[in-house]
């Protein structure tokens, strides 16, 4: 089956609502990995990211019978749900005492000259983790997930101008956080 022949997300969701569990599996394999990666980037916690992914997909299953094809894309809807679930968890995290928060797996910045790509991505994740929640969500959705500003605005429940402001401030903060690590990240070689 070519990409053109592949059923749309809408069609798969409607087929699932009609009782086709194979359609559910295909939809899950198509959408859930990106949701998991999004949740992982927003939460910086694998177990929580998996929980958010499962919860977001469950809500997609539950809304399937009422889904109107041709409206919002299931992927966009799912991103919005995942962002909401993740930001809810981030809010709860802030209410937890700081000394009860587990240390990250490897808090020390990598210092190896000629850092490989995976290490650069880890540096990016570490910097993203230091952004305020809404800035991080906007930057992740815009620059890592490749969503357009209107989709991000819909996902976050804010206006397009607010998205532009958040992404701009987020990018500026990221460059500040990564300043001084230019050589470390291997961009001068």
């Amino acid at each position: 089956m070519t990409a053109q022949d592949a059923p749309s997300d809408d069609a798969l969701l409607c087929a699932y609502a009609a009782g086709d569990t194979a359609a559910a599996r295909e939809l899950m394999e198509r959408l859930a990995p990106r949701v998991l990666r999004l949740a992982q980037r927003l939460l910086q916690d694998r177990a929580e990211a998996e929980d958010v992914t499962q919860e977001a997909m469950l809500r997609l299953w539950q809304i399937a019978p009422k889904w109107v094809p041709g409206g919002a894309q299931p992927s966009t809807w799912l991103h919005r749900v995942a962002v909401n679930l993740a930001t809810d968890r981030l809010r709860r995290r802030r209410s937890v005492a700081l000394d009860s928060i587990a240390e990250p797996d490897d808090p020390a910045p990598a210092v190896v000259e000629g850092m490989i790509e995976a290490d650069r991505q880890r540096a990016l994740d570490e910097a993203l983790a230091l952004l305020p929640d809404r800035q991080r969500a906007a930057v992740v959705l815009r620059h890592l997930e490749g969503l357009g500003n209107p989709d991000i605005a819909a996902a976050m429940g804010i206006g397009v101008e607010a998205v532009e402001s958040l992404t701009a401030r987020g990018k500026r903060r990221l460059t500040e956080l990564l300043s001084g690590r230019r050589n470390e990240l291997g961009y001068d070689r």
Binding site: Q54, E164, S179, L185
Partner: protein, 151 residues
Amino acid sequence: MTERDTSDRNAPANAPATAPTDAFGDDMLEALFAEARAAQAPALPDALSARMMADAAAALAPPPASHPNWWARLRLALADIGGAPGLAGVSAAGLAGVWIGFSGSGGTGALLTQFWQGAATVSPSVSEWVETDPLTDDSSTLWALMSGEIE
């Protein structure tokens, strides 16, 4: 640092156009973003996939009928009394009760009177029967009676 991000409307107007050589530039950040976008999404763990498919199957299952309609409830009630035959029996008993009620059989006092009057006509009377009762002599007589020796 190369050029400032012109979309950054929050940048201070007097920010320097150049930056120290060890600064992290927008081009580097964009390169990092590009690498992150190109990175393959992580494979779904098997356990997570299984949980999500279980959720999908459960969400498809019809919910239990917690509020059956009146016809279903009537059928359930009929089943408790034996179905249609049971209903016929109950109906017959009810109709019989109504018929008895309207047939004018009088009060229970009249019934008792009729009963005792009938009893008074039985011969011999209870008191006469007791006086001539051969079974009260001894148990051997009773045993002989039971064994058929006494007609």
